[in-house]
């Protein structure tokens, strides 16, 4: 805000005679409430746009905390991180700096479902992100509990049906921060309650302070809230586990970075092991015998928990026929002995937990460092938001992460980035930036949240994305760099490179389709040498590439006109500093035992020549895109056609102030649902459950009529 705007803000604030000028602590553009994965991205997006931003947290030591699983990515979540990175977010870069094991999941399946997952060194992750925040210009960190949002009234118009507008917020000390936009990223802290059997504490995760004032304020502002639940398993002392009874889980031989700007060569490193073991009949017996002491089954928990991430109690009850469940033992970091027990989250009391864990092979003598617990918290009904993640009733107010009813670090971070971008766009008087279902997983995530009434914490899944062949993790930069540039978070250089890459891929794909080879001896010999059947008549190179045994790289010897790509806009890769390597000399013998050191052995010789061969990286990247484009052309074309018809109806906008009660030809149920969710487009309306195709036809005609009348 400039000086005039600041003065105006003060005048507005003092209109209410209860307000005192001496309470004003700071006048900024954006306030972000919460410094978890959503909050961090939101704050960075604001500050990087040159807007003064304050980020509030109940504890500065818990910035970008990972209170549950020690990893980033995984199926479809990995896509979100890649998309976030393409848009100019931080999570991908941060995990590239702090991972201790990395794996491309589903690598034997189609390219659409390849998904990256990295184990994080939790402490390093937190520390690293905190440094980024602390050193970001225009950004300040404030440790305080936010207890009230300050608003003023406004008149609704065609653009927005909001009746209120944000002017600032108040913290528990009484201090006031005046601002234009607020991003709520409160995670699981609102009225949080942790349950471990009969032991109930009114705290957030890890015993951190809960936020007890804000919910009531939100309700007073007319925002609908609901209560969700989630949980986490116990952490064990590494020294008490017998890993010889478990299977070792290694990372990939070749590590793929999350960020499009990380140098892939420079990040190859030694990796930590994870381990796999299983529950058994005995485990299940103990759980069944003690169900009455589980707060969920005893009816003490009111919140709705996620079905995809069930507690071990839930698994044993719901899938009674399964004789065993997998248990993944994952390190919480390199320089800690805590191990995460994936697959066995629970809210059973401590004594039962201990008994139950000790039935698992390798855990017979386990020592629990932190108990498993369930956590309940308040969140909002996200149907009150629009696709910019802004509240429809209050301009300048945005929501991101678990407060919107989602779960997961990646879902939170991606929303945080989008909410932060739009808070920035709002402050800059620019149009909001949104993603639709054909733009990315983030588009699917947001559309699902704001359109469907979520009844449990929402997790991203590849099956939720109808155009997933187009929304691959390998092409997130091609899809989203442009939007990131619009959002002020991607440089012109980065955008130019992606555009150039796109042009090369397209022209190569075209050339391969147009270039034919005849059934001459050279070709046939080549095909035979590749164990590929000879051709009968002339075929295009594209047709050859689409054979499973061949690829763009493989047919190079018979592709005589293949051009040499000269890249004008070479991207600058960042060499990441990995905590692993830095401290290798000071590692203890115990710490070394849990490391996969294969990389170290070949490191020195190999690295020297391979290091940062950017040309090679770019070429490999382009080859991959060409192979996918050519090999799956049929399916890709099909989805592109679907996207085309999807876009048509998605572009039919609905005025923000449409009075549904006036459309009497609509069925009552449809009228109510539409009025409640207030879709922004006819396309979104068609995805609301309870709205039929006939209702959509009626709506279309009504809108057409409205247009003609005006």
């Amino acid at each position: 805000m400039n000086e005039t705007e600041k003065k105006l803000a003060i005048t507005n604030f003092l209109k209410d005679e209860n307000n005192r000028e001496e309470d004003i602590r700071q006048i900024v553009d954006i306030c972000v409430v919460g410094a978890g994965h959503a909050g961090c991205e939101a704050a960075l997006a604001g500050a990087r746009n040159g807007l003064d931003t304050v980020i509030f947290t109940v504890s500065v030591d818990s910035i970008a905390l990972m209170p549950c699983n020690p990893n980033v990515g995984g199926s479809s979540k990995g896509h979100l991180v890649r998309e976030l990175d393409a848009l100019g977010g931080e999570m991908g870069k941060n995990i590239d700096k702090t991972f201790i094991q990395s794996k491309m999941l589903n690598s034997s399946k189609g390219p659409a479902v390849h998904s990256l997952r990295a184990q994080a060194d939790k402490q390093a992750y937190t520390r690293c992100m905190r440094r980024v925040l602390e050193n970001q210009e225009h950004l300040t960190i404030k440790q305080a509990e936010v207890c009230e949002l300050l608003t003023t009234s406004r008149t609704p118009d065609e653009e927005s049906s909001a009746t209120k507008q944000i002017i600032g917020l108040k913290i528990a000390s009484g201090g006031v921060y005046l601002c234009r936009a607020v991003v709520l990223a409160t995670g699981t802290y609102l009225n949080a309650r942790c349950l471990c059997g009969e032991m109930i504490t009114h705290t957030g995760p890890n015993g951190l302070m809960a936020a007890t004032h804000l919910t009531q304020n939100l309700i007073d502002l007319g925002i609908e809230v609901q209560r969700f639940k989630t949980g986490t398993p116990a952490r064990m002392d590494k020294r008490s586990l017998d890993f010889s009874k478990m299977e070792i889980q290694k990372g990939d031989d070749r590590i793929t970075p999350f960020s499009f700007s990380t140098d892939p060569e420079g990040m190859q490193t030694e990796q930590a092991y994870c381990y796999l073991t299983y529950t058994n009949e005995k485990t299940h017996e103990i759980i069944k015998a003690n169900l009455d002491r589980s707060p969920i089954y005893a009816g003490i928990i009111e919140g709705t928990g996620p079905r995809y991430c069930p507690s071990i109690e839930d698994k044993v009850v719901k899938f009674a026929e399964k004789e065993r469940h997998q248990v993944f033992i994952e390190p919480e970091g390199l320089y800690t002995n805590e191990m995460y027990v994936g697959g066995m989250s629970s809210s059973l009391p401590e004594d039962v937990q201990l008994k139950m864990y000790r039935t698992v092979p390798g855990m017979e003598n386990c020592v629990i460092v932190r108990n498993a617990y369930a956590i309940e918290y308040d969140c909002i009904k996200a149907t009150q938001l629009d696709h910019s993640l802004g509240f429809m009733k209050i301009t300048g107010l945005y929501g991101a992460g678990q407060i919107n009813g989602s779960s997961g670090y990646e879902e939170a971070a991606a929303q945080g980035l989008l909410a932060g971008i739009n808070a920035a766009m709002y402050c800059l008087d620019k149009a909001p930036i949104t993603l639709d279902r054909s733009d990315g997983y983030l588009g699917v995530l947001v559309d699902d949240l704001v359109t469907k009434e979520t009844r449990e914490p929402y997790r991203m899944m590849t099956s939720r994305s109808e155009y997933r062949l187009l929304l691959r993790q390998d092409n997130a930069d091609l899809r989203l760099r442009e939007k990131g540039y619009e959002a002020g978070l991607v440089t012109k250089e980065q955008l130019d490179y992606v555009k150039e890459k796109q042009r090369i891929i397209e022209s190569e794909a075209r050339r391969l389709k147009e270039t034919k080879v005849g059934a001459n001896k050279k070709i046939q010999d080549f095909l035979l040498s590749c164990d590929s059947t000879p051709i009968k008549t002339a075929v295009s190179l594209a047709e050859l590439i689409s054979r499973p045994e061949l690829s763009y790289e493989r047919i190079a010897p018979i592709d005589e006109e293949r051009p040499v790509f000269v890249i004008q806009n070479k991207p600058r890769f960042e060499i990441v500093e990995n905590p692993l390597r830095k401290q290798s000399s000071s590692r203890s013998a115990l710490e070394e035992r849990f490391l996969d050191l294969r990389f170290l052995e070949k490191e020195e010789a190999a690295k020297a020549e391979e290091a940062s061969d950017i040309e090679k990286q770019i070429l490999a990247d382009i080859c991959r895109q060409i192979n996918i484009t050519v090999k799956y052309e049929g399916y890709i074309k099909r989805q592109e056609k679907q996207v085309e018809s999807f876009k048509k109806i998605e572009h039919k906008k609905i005025p923000a102030d449409l009075d549904y009660s006036a459309i009497t030809n609509l069925r009552l149920e449809a009228r109510q649902k539409l009025d409640q969710i207030r879709p922004q487009s006819v396309g979104q309306a068609s995805r609301i459950s309870g709205v039929s195709p006939a209702d959509i036809s009626v709506l279309l005609i009504y809108l057409e009529n409205l247009k003609k009348e005006s």
Binding site: C68, L105, G110, P310, Q326, G343, N665
Partner: protein, 476 residues
């Protein structure tokens, strides 16, 4: 909102001299051109001017055997009206064909086969409105029409889908959803679910699914999926010869019966053509098979059987009394067209007829004109059956008997959906055989699931996610 090319029968489908099939959309001319040839056997429609009429033939590719042959189905007049000067303001082609049910149906089928989609209720009008061809004052009416016709279509579809067929579709969907959910669970949680060897087992399942879908599709070809024809019920007291008459009619004419359990037998109906007109004969089993000889025809039971009927054949044993009980039934169904059949007419025919007429006159029934004809027959000796056929044919061509349009349309819709299902399943098989990765299977499996859902009016919504969560144990 779909903007593809749509087609439907624009005229009511009773026996007028001419029926019109309307095609609208970008591909309208191309679609029509595929199935229309001139006398000189030429495809010309792509090159004709707007607002012109052309004489020629509609052809339909007949499958079967190695090579595809084309067969002429009807002699037609085709009008071409290019955008924007047409009813919908899109390219429109109208095919004027001969009004017979079978012919009209076949021409429509040929059009759909050539690439058009069956129009949704009210869709032509909707397009006309959205393209500005209909006045604003009519917007209300258009919305009402869409609303009403979609309701009617839904209720009709529900009514037509008999229990067993519905169960069959639901079971197919369930299997498809289960497989998809398994694949998706494995993709979302690759460390918990292993797909090794799965493609082979899926291939076997797809083979079975394909068999079932193909069988359903074949039965829909024969019109037996839904009973499309004049619904006719044979009523009468026990032992008047109802079953003999039924068997006689079925034996003489080609009954359309499929061996798919349930599509025909379970609903106790037979479709047959009498002189080229489709009839659905309800074999009022409860009445026929009664074990108790003294059981009387319950008035309720008769009403139930006759409720949906277009025509009632009321059978009287002319050697027995025509009594109050018969009159009670006839009174009950007095809104139906009834042909009164005097069976066992080898005995003193005239006398009996006269006696019954008198009885009818005495009661108030004759005033309602619901008894369109009184005929004497002998089912046992196969006498008078030709006379009965003459009468039904006459009634049909005079327009006093009609088949139900909605049923035909519904059947067509089902067939379209089944064909799409089959295509999608074939795609899955192709992907398996080409060694495509597993995630490609679920794309086509979900398409098959969606197509099947259209038959029973089910939207997809979050079915897949629900199935994943309820059937497969996910995650951390």
């Amino acid at each position: 909102m779909r903007t593809d090319t749509i087609a439907s029968i624009a005229t009511g489908r009773n026996v007028s001299g001419i029926s019109i099939i309307r095609i609208s959309g970008e591909q309208a001319v191309a679609v029509a051109d595929r199935i229309f040839i001139t006398k000189e056997q030429k495809h010309i429609l792509q090159n004709v001017k707007s607002h012109t009429i052309h004489y020629g033939y509609v052809i339909f590719p007949t499958s079967g055997g190695e090579e595809e042959k084309e067969e002429i189905i009807d002699e037609v007049l085709v009008s071409v009206m290019l955008a924007p000067k047409s009813y919908t303001a899109e390219d429109v082609v109208e095919i004027n064909c001969h009004g017979g049910i079978t012919v009209t149906n076949t021409v429509l089928e040929a059009v759909l086969h050539a690439g058009a989609r069956l129009a949704e209720p009210g869709e032509f009008t909707k397009r006309a409105f959205l393209n500005g061809r209909i006045d604003l004052s009519e917007a209300e009416a258009v919305m009402d029409l869409i609303n009403a016709s979609s309701k009617a279509a839904v209720s009709n579809s529900e009514k037509q889908l008999r229990g067993v067929l519905k169960e069959k579709i639901e079971s197919l969907r369930k299997q498809i959803l289960h497989e998809t959910a398994f694949i998706e669970s494995a993709l979302d949680d690759p460390e918990h679910f292993d797909l090794t060897g799965y493609p082979e087992s899926l291939d076997e399942k797809i083979t079975r699914l394909l068999e079932e879908v193909t069988a359903l599709l074949e039965s829909s070809e024969e019109g037996a999926l839904l009973k499309n024809g004049i619904k006719t019920v044979i009523l009468g007291k026990p032992n008047v010869g109802k079953s003999t008459l039924l068997n006689l009619l079925l034996g003489q004419e080609k009954a359309i019966v499929t061996d798919i359990a349930g599509t025909t037998r379970d609903v106790l109906e037979e479709t047959l053509m009498i002189r080229g007109i489709p009839f659905v004969l309800s074999d009022t089993a409860g009445i026929r098979n009664t074990a108790d000889p003294v059981e009387k025809i319950g008035v309720d039971r008769a009403r139930e059987a006759a409720m949906d009927a277009d025509l009632v054949l009321y059978l009287v044993d002319s050697t027995a009394d025509f009594d109050e009980e018969d009159l009670a039934v006839l009174r009950m169904i007095n809104d139906k067209k009834v042909i009164l059949l005097l069976n066992k007419s080898d005995l003193e025919e005239g006398l009996q007829a006269k006696r019954i007429s008198e009885a009818l006159t005495k009661s108030e029934i004759s005033q309602h004109h619901n008894i369109v004809r009184i005929l004497s027959i002998s089912a046992k000796e196969n006498k008078g059956i030709d006379g009965l056929k003459d009468v039904t044919q006459e009634l049909f061509f005079k327009g006093s008997l009609q088949t139900n349009d909605q049923i035909f349309i519904t059947n067509m819709r089902h067939k379209e959906a089944l064909s799409e299902t089959k295509q999608s399943l074939l795609h899955v098989r192709e992907s398996i055989q080409n060694g495509m990765p597993e995630d490609f299977y679920s794309i086509d499996l979900m398409d098959a699931y969606t197509s099947l859902g259209r038959i029973i009016g089910q939207e997809v919504d979050d079915d897949l996610i629900e199935e994943i969560f309820s059937e497969f144990c996910m995650g951390k």
